[in-house]
């Protein structure tokens, strides 16, 4: 959903697994919807980890652990690998996450998050390890993501890092604009390009 970003300060949900693929974020059988109903996708986020095969809640999975909550998901490296399904980004947004922190994101998924106003924040391995440690010691650990300043801070330890975000995307996030808005303003350039080939 288009929404303006500024500063987000929140508790975190930790998922210290590597190579979390988009089939886990939203299994294929939930891709049959023909509308962008974020609530439906959010309800099925991490479906097969969140629920037991009989449909009951899996108490061991972090989303079902009442100690953890917040708008920030913290995940192990290579988050969002595999299928290009944007439904994974819709599920993350639909569940209520606005930021995903990891040391490494898969390319397509990263773009999908940005196109859905979920901010992927890439941090160093050290920052990530320390953050998992802080959250495991104190689930109430707060993280501050300052989009204008492009900084992420673990408030338990005070450790702060700058994260990458290109100037164009930053402008889009701060002003709730998407790429289609840009492209529709540049139709003449496209026609000119076609004619020049």
């Amino acid at each position: 959903m288009k929404q303006k970003f500024d500063i987000i300060e929140s508790r975190c949900v930790p998922l210290p697994l590597e190579n979390v693929d988009t089939d886990q974020i939203i299994p294929a059988r939930f891709l049959k919807a023909t509308s962008r109903d974020e609530k439906f996708f959010g309800d099925n986020l991490f479906r097969d980890w969140r629920y037991n095969p009989d449909g009951s809640l899996n108490d061991k999975f972090v989303l079902n652990d009442p100690r953890y909550s917040g708008e920030i998901l913290v995940a192990g490296k290579n988050f969002g690998s595999g299928s290009s399904r944007e439904h994974a980004a819709w599920a993350i947004a639909g569940y209520g996450f606005r930021v995903v922190i990891s040391s490494f994101f898969a390319d397509i998924h990263k773009n999908n998050e940005l196109n859905n106003f979920v901010l992927p924040v890439t941090v160093s391995e050290e920052f990530l390890a320390e953050l998992f440690d802080s959250i495991s010691k104190d689930p109430a650990t707060l993280v501050k993501v300052d989009v204008p300043a492009q900084t992420v801070t673990n408030e338990a330890t005070g450790r702060s890092e700058k994260f990458e975000l290109n100037a164009y995307k930053k402008y889009c996030l701060l002003n709730a604009l998407d790429d289609i808005d840009y492209l529709l303003q540049h139709k003449e350039d496209i026609v000119r390009f076609e004619e020049s080939r």
């Binding site: 294929a28 509308s35 490494f104 999908n112 390890a129 840009y182």
Partner: protein, 464 residues
Amino acid sequence: MNTLFDKIWDSHVVNSIEEGPQQLYIDRLYCHEVTSPQAFEGLRQRGIKCFRPEQIFCMPDHNTPTHDQDKEIENEISRKQVETLKKNAEQFGLTHYGMMSPDNGIIHVVGPEKGLSLPGMTIVCGDSHTSTHGAMGAVAFGIGTSEVEMVLASQCILQQKPKSMRISIEGQLGKGVTAKDVALYLMQQMTTSGATGYFIEYSGSVIRDMSMEGRLTLCNLSIEMGARGGFIAPDEKTFEYVKGREYAPAGEDWDKAVEYWKTLRSGDDAVFDKEISFKAEDIAPMITYGTNPGMGTAIAGTIPAESEISEEGLESFRTSLDYMGLAPGAGVLGKKVDYVFLGACTNGRIEDFRAFASIVKGRKKNPDVVAWLVPGSWAVSKQITEEGLDKVLVEAGFEIRQPGCSACLAMNDDKIPAGKYSVSTSNRNFQGRQGPGSRTLLASPLTAAAAAVTGVVTDPRTLL
């Protein structure tokens, strides 16, 4: 600089946004039923039309059943998704190859087959395996649904230009070592994130010697190393494959096209952001044991011991083997197999069926194995019959199904039951990929055939 990737990419840049992405012109957009409905809905909400409808081709493949395609799809939600694509194509004036149309099949099999994917093009689809079309010498990559909407609306997307990587493989592949094994070997060596941020150009004698079908398989799996795409500079094999296909240029246009296509190669002075080389001799038939495609081993090898895994990766490794019901340090040969799947955009082409038939010919399917043989398109299906492969397969106890993505991601009825082992020629062994609880061992069509006749994981070289 001066790589083929640079040449194709740069010649499609309409605008470069300062400190931002580039506006890239797209020659071809493919749409399937799963990742397009919300994009069309977006156009309706904005009240706009498709900008270049003649450059867009639609076909259902993910939900299609692999039997009784002449009847209505039983699953109501699948049916609705397939019908929605047809309606959207009609409303926006796009070409649509519906179920049972002789042109239908898996989008990444049909595109090259019809001459829709050509050298030098930029090609996208809401599907990560769009990298397949790179085998034609095109820059092809998967995108999300918002990006599909961008292309529908403007025939462009905004993208950061990926870095370039060259993977060279020199030497000669051994007997029974296929393009699929090369890809599985690369994934094991590179890991599933080893090429993230890059676009790969494959080169070397192994690639030159590889058939077009093999190249399509190799490029298909580029995404499994994290790469946005992978491609191969077009050569005589490419031209020969393209010539005469329905949408290929013809007559004078053909000569002009070939003249241009011959210029599509990296310069001798090309500088890649990364260069890696491998030796053909090091590659054996491969099989995966874990829950990502990088978790593979030579078929006669062993699963790594825990001591070989990094501390950060240990939890994921244990979760993975636990799911697979396999032990660290163990071998995979001789493991009982319940299902065999031949097909998908990875291995659903004629050469894959020839390979499978070469092993099962004169043998019988193991009675304990359920085998699903799913051609990648109706054109492949037709060729199977024309070459008489159907007789060989049926005689050995196999049945050929109707085309579609099928058990690769089990969006139709072709689901591997929980706990069962499947030797699959598809592209992903993720948890639940082939159905909730399914356990996938990725391998080549030869290895799949060997498993199908013996009922256990078998080195295909022993049956050749």
